[in-house]
């Protein structure tokens, strides 16, 4: 037997990239979608929102420019990596979360970063972060428009144990910025290959062939609908359980049912895609190798690529990415001039000039990762505007200064054109100690999710557009 060009999935995925692959990846060719199932594309690209968290704060005077010029301000040392993109982002200043003031240095500040909530002490049995994060609120309201409501990415495994000095904070708090509700974190994917696969999982749909009606009995009974029928069945099972339990068991079953529904929705979205944005050009990205890359820089880059791919294919419009967990002990000795020491350790530099310089280099490296993302998104055309033009990307930390845990005037960059609603390239200087929730409410409003009050917001931050 001759073996002409066997298309092994592995080869295809490695060689050609995700735009051209076997059935389970086929939906990635967005034009195929439209053509096959007669779904209509959107008339203009939708707005996407991303939230990028960097741990351990910055060196304040090397972040915030001097003076008060709105434009043409000095590019400070830590902002150097995004200097050539200065017309693509604004610095948003003087925002904070009042509920984090005077509390533990790190743990409560992480869940609060996107929610503004008051994080209760505890041992984890009764997690209460006081709020739902803004990305999850957006996903709750507009996430159904895409096959994935939202995408959560990171690089660190969640922490365990309790930091139980004086009542205690579970360390798990420092591992999540995305919270489905005040009690439930949304886990982040940290393995690139799995994150990549997640974009395309459960997308195995009946092939589109002329002469076959997608609503026919034959399709409903097909192997492709097996996942859906399995989910239907366990849903029935869980519902019968639901009626028999109460209290925290009931919460567990509710959570289970909600997840089953979410997966069913994804499957339905594949069978009957709704209106989505279809980019004409293709974006090639090889499927990442398994495991976590040895190089941290490579790891972060892959996760950012996946975020871009998810936005570009309109698989989701909402993403969060933790470039590191609170108090990350990761060593950044791959950066020139940084010793093999814990990032968190170095952040408490005690004003030792040498240590402080290392701390700053690590922070600046994180800004360089933002630069990579912005460049990549700027280079992707969506029919006259770039993916970056159609995005709002919040990058920053939950501390101004890692050494003193200062929670005032958080270091925040808002990048992208916000689909015409943002005017980047400026310093947006709010009044001192303005709730950061005002900014989050402003971003949420742009996504079509209006809130009368979000966290401790006192209004919607103006001056962004």
């Amino acid at each position: 037997m001759t073996r002409p060009q066997s298309i092994s999935r592995r080869n295809l995925l490695r060689g050609v990239g995700a735009t051209l692959a076997l059935p389970w990846l086929e939906s990635l060719t967005p034009t195929g979608f439209a053509k096959g199932l007669g779904s209509s594309g959107l008339a203009k690209p939708p707005l996407r929102s991303a939230f990028l968290f960097m741990p351990n704060g910055v060196v304040p005077d090397h972040w915030t420019p001097e003076g008060d010029a709105e434009t043409g301000f000095e590019i400070t040392p830590m902002l150097k990596p995004v200097e050539h993109l200065r017309d693509q982002f604004s610095l948003v200043e003087n925002l904070w979360h009042e509920e984090t003031d005077g509390r533990n240095g790190h743990w409560p500040k992480v869940p609060a970063w996107l929610s503004g909530g008051f994080v209760e002490r505890g041992t984890g049995g009764d997690l209460d972060t006081g709020g739902t994060s803004i990305d999850q609120l957006m996903a709750h309201h507009v996430g159904h428009k895409t096959s994935l409501p939202s995408l959560e990415l990171g690089v660190d495994e969640p922490r365990t144990g309790i930091d139980n000095v004086g009542g205690g904070f579970p360390r798990i708090l420092g591992s999540f910025i995305s919270w489905r509700d005040p009690h439930t974190p949304v886990p982040k994917e940290i393995i690139p290959q799995l994150a990549f696969d997640r974009l395309f999982r459960t997308t195995n749909r009946f092939p589109v062939v002329s002469g076959i009606d997608p609503d026919s009995e034959i399709v409903k009974r097909s192997l492709q609908r097996d996942d859906a029928s399995v989910l239907d069945l366990v849903m029935e099972d869980a519902k019968s359980l639901q009626s028999r339990v109460s209290g925290s068991d009931r919460q567990k079953i509710d959570e289970y049912l909600e997840s089953v529904r979410a997966v069913e929705k994804r499957i339905d979205a594949v069978m009957k895609p709704g209106e989505r944005w279809i980019n004409k050009a293709t974006l090639d990205m090889p499927r990442p190798a398994s495991g976590i890359p040895e190089s941290h820089a490579e790891h972060v880059k892959l996760m950012l690529d996946i975020l871009v791919l998810a936005f570009w294919t309109d698989t989701t419009r909402i993403g969060s990415f933790m470039l590191g967990d609170a108090q990350t002990g990761r060593s950044f000795d791959f950066i020139d001039g940084v010793r093999k020491k814990s990032f968190h350790g170095l952040s408490h530099h005690r004003n030792d000039a040498e240590v402080k310089a290392e701390y700053e280099k690590i922070g600046t490296w994180h800004v360089a990762q933002l630069a990579y993302l912005l460049e990549k998104m700027k280079g992707l055309d969506e029919g006259g505007s770039s993916l970056l033009d159609n995005s709002q990307i919040l990058f920053g930390s939950s501390l101004k200064d890692g050494n003193s845990h200062n929670p005032h005037d958080l270091p925040l960059i808002l990048a992208g054109g916000g689909a015409g609603t943002l005017k980047p390239g400026r310093r947006v200087r709010a009044a001192k100690d303005t709730p950061m929730c005002n900014l989050l409410a402003a971003m949420s409003e742009r996504m079509g999710v209006k809130t009368t009050r979000f966290g401790d917001s006192t209004g919607v931050l103006s001056g962004l557009g």
Partner: protein, 753 residues
């Protein structure tokens, strides 16, 4: 606890009001006035002694902060030493005396999703396959007592549901052997049908496209054959696509005798219906397709004996054979399977429900094996399998859990997997909740090799040593010659084998600190630079017990894992080591350094002499804001200074002899690790034992402990003291305890939206 002094004999209400509160009012109230700040520790909310009962952990923290002198802050008013000790001893004594005041407490264990270790091990026992999902499922963060088996933090987000769905498919495909798939589509069945009368050979024109709908059950390599007739002297090229994705080109040329020609190729196909599309190239001559065939590249002969046995156990039929009455066999197999998967007897209704999936599959003509696979997939993602559900308690009264629930609790506690046959049988017979039977079973489970998994999981998380070699101490060029991944792995396992031995041989739990022994491989022995005579008795891939008193080792404080984990890179840290002992072993962590710590001097007062680490720390301890904690933790670290940053012995550092002397805040002095460990085990014995008890109880129950669990802890500690601290007494005591065998409803607490 021996702190029940003269005070306790008096009326506790009086003492609290007239002796204890006045001291605290004097030194704590200014900062801790109730309502002053939102996140404060609310111990002053206790106005009468009875109020302490509702906030025992807060008051325990008050006692430990006072004892450890971490409160009040050094720059605030301090109590006299006499007052300090009086208050601490009264609080501790009162907590001890009042532990069982409210009676026994069982608490409520939330439905626990299996964590990834339990999932892997359960899948192995249930399905007979080992697919290592723990590598790719998202890691669970631990809450409660800090373990990843705590139901409260075992969430099930959509992302995980997707994974379980996919894992279930992989599992059934690995466990159950489907007959090799073969399918033939004749020309007249190609889509779209040809116009006019259907003909066996379907003619197609240049540019025309036809598709054969092929379904495959298992992702695998498939041979595709295309049979066609080409006119004499003609050549044709077919473009083959799979579900719209171009795959390859097939060239046909006439055979000369007008007979059909068959061309073959191989494709990798996922489960599902696929459209094998054939498009005749534009400039080709027309041809007629006779059939498209598909055959799985898989040979039943290659199925191993082990796989066959496992297959038969699960689906009741020999590999490759179709049963005579499929639905009856399916029903029987499913009933047995559900009993094991749900870890309890199941009702007919449940069996029928899952048989719907069997019917769906059989109904469309799938083979028996595939129908069973689909049914099992439903079971493997059902809540009754993924969660350990316990029957809802009927009241707030303590009531025993069922024997089957008890079997699960016991099995997941000591073996991290589903109950085995013996436990299931005892539960079926209703005999498990008998103290004598339970004791016997604890012994049996602990004697089994499988209990090492429990030790590894519990100790690795409690002491934090499971992370060694991971993010704690990355392996880099500078040290890779000696600190290899194998050494790191041996270090992690040293801790496991040591505790495993304490339990297996029922030794005193105090040996965790005060022991002369450990367990080493030859590789680790070399790393620790043991003399040749000692190395001779060791083997590279086997842990053996070694007496190490001469080396200053024995117990966890002489173990490379602990010593490395609590060091900076290439540099020891007495501070980290001391803090670790308080955090992990003693269970009263010291506060983190305050923000904005002033810069440490690097030179002496004369501005010339370069200070040693010890001198720097000595200076540090003179600063008021640092003093209290460092006086507490540094001495322990000094006692361990003979161990370098990787736990190797050293007599000198930078050509200076090591000074391993220290004085505990309570006054005991020591020189070197052996003396330090004895002092520690002596002076902190109650706290060490109490903390271990607490951690193990939290792990066993899989929930956060509450104030009312103090009663169980006090009883367990009491029994442990009476039995010379024997490890098995503790484990047995936990299994026999009220909260392990019972459950009670908790009054619902409204949760704000």
């Amino acid at each position: 606890m021996a702190s029940v002094g003269a005070l306790a004999a008096e009326n506790p209400a009086q003492t609290f009001e007239h002796v204890i509160l006045p001291v605290l009012d004097e030194v704590c109230f200014d900062c801790h006035e109730p309502g002053l700040s939102k996140g404060d520790v609310p111990f002053f909310e206790a106005e009468q002694v009875a109020d302490i009962q509702g906030m025992r952990s807060v008051w325990r923290s008050v006692a430990s902060q006072l004892r450890n002198r971490t409160m009040p802050p050094a720059d605030k008013k301090q109590p006299t030493d006499e007052d300090r000790i009086k208050v601490v001893e009264w609080i501790e004594g009162h907590l001890q005396d009042s532990a069982c005041e409210l009676g026994p407490f069982a608490g409520y264990v939330t439905a626990r999703r299996m964590n990834r270790l339990e999932y892997d091990r359960t899948i192995h026992d249930l399905m007979g396959v080992d697919l290592q999902f723990s590598e790719t499922l998202p890691a669970e963060g631990g809450t409660g007592e800090g373990f990843d088996n705590s139901g409260e933090s075992l969430f099930l987000p959509p992302m995980l549901m997707e994974r379980y769905l996919e894992a279930a498919r992989q599992i059934v495909d690995a466990a159950i052997v489907s007959p090799p798939r073969k399918q033939t589509i004749v020309g007249s069945d190609l889509m779209p049908p040809a116009k006019g009368e259907p003909r066996k050979y379907r003619p197609i024109r240049a540019g025309e496209k036809v598709a054969a709908m092929m379904s495959v059950f298992v992702e695998d390599d498939y041979r595709i054959g295309v049979r066609a007739i080409v006119g004499k002297g003609k050549k044709s090229v077919l473009q083959l696509s799979v579900d719209g994705v171009p795959a390859t080109r097939i060239e046909f040329s006439a055979s000369g005798d007008g007979k059909p020609v068959e061309k073959k190729l191989e494709l990798r196909l996922a489960r599902g219906v696929h459209a094998i599309e054939l498009k005749l190239a534009k400039d080709s001559d027309g041809l007629s397709i006779g059939e498209v065939r598909l055959a799985q590249n898989f040979d039943l002969e290659k199925v191993s004996e082990e796989q066959r046995t496992n297959h038969q156990r699960l689906v009741g039929a020999v590999v490759g054979e179709q049963p005579e009455d499929p639905r009856k066999l399916a029903r029987d197999c499913l009933t047995a399977f559900l009993r094991r998967a749900f870890r309890r007897p199941v009702g007919d209704g449940e069996v029928e429900r899952f048989l719907q999936l069997f019917d769906r599959s059989i109904g469309r003509g799938d083979p028996y094996e595939e129908a069973m696979k689909l049914t099992f997939r439903g079971v493997l993602i059902s809540p009754d399998f993924l969660y350990r559900m316990e029957r809802e308690p009927e009241s707030e009264e303590i009531q025993p859990i069922t024997d089957h629930e008890l079997a699960s609790r016991l099995s997941y506690f000591l073996h991290a997997t589903m109950p085995d046959e013996e436990l299931s049988r005892l539960a079926d017979e209703g005999r498990l909740n008998d103290a004598a039977v339970l004791k016997e079973q604890v012994k049996r489970l602990l004697d089994s090799e499988e209990s090492r998994v429990f030790v590894r999981h519990f100790i690795g998380q409690w002491l934090g040593t499971k992370d060694l070699g991971g993010r704690v101490a990355p392996i880099t060029n500078a040290v890779q010659d000696f600190y290899t991944p194998e050494v790191a792995s041996d270090m992690r396992e040293e801790v496991v084998y040591f505790f495993d031995h304490l339990i297996r041989d029922n030794r005193s739990v105090l040996e965790m600190v005060d022991s002369d022994d450990s367990f080493l491989t030859r590789r680790l022995g070399k790393f620790y630079q043991l003399p040749e005579s000692a190395l001779e008795k060791l083997r590279d891939n086997e842990f053996r017990r070694v007496g190490l008193r001469e080396q200053g080792r024995g117990g966890v404080l002489g173990m490379g894992a602990v010593l490395t984990m609590t060091s900076h890179y290439k540099q020891t840290s007495p501070v980290l080591r001391g803090a670790w002992v308080f955090d992990r072993l003693i269970g009263s962590p010291v506060p983190p350094p305050p923000p904005d710590v002033p810069e440490l001097p690097t030179k002496g007062r004369d501005g010339k002499k370069k200070l040693t680490d010890r001198e720097k720390l000595d200076l540090h301890r003179t600063a008021a804001s640092c003093q209290a904690c460092h006086q507490l933790i540094d001495p322990i670290g000094f006692g361990l200074q003979n161990f370098d940053a990787f736990g190797r012995w050293r007599d000198k550092d930078n050509d200076q002899p090591i000074d391993a002397k220290g004085v505990m805040p309570s006054g005991e002095s020591f020189d070197g690790p052996i003396e330090m460990k004895s002092v520690l085990a002596e002076t902190r014995r109650d706290e060490l034992v109490r903390n271990l008890t607490r951690k193990l109880l939290g792990y066993a129950l899989g929930r956060s402990l509450e104030d009312r669990d103090d009663c169980t802890i006090a009883q367990l500690v009491g029994t442990l003291e009476e039995s010379d601290y024997k490890a098995r007494t503790l484990i047995e005591g936990i299994v026999l305890s009220t909260p392990f065998r019972n459950r009670q409803a908790i009054p619902p607490e409204p949760i704000e939206p």
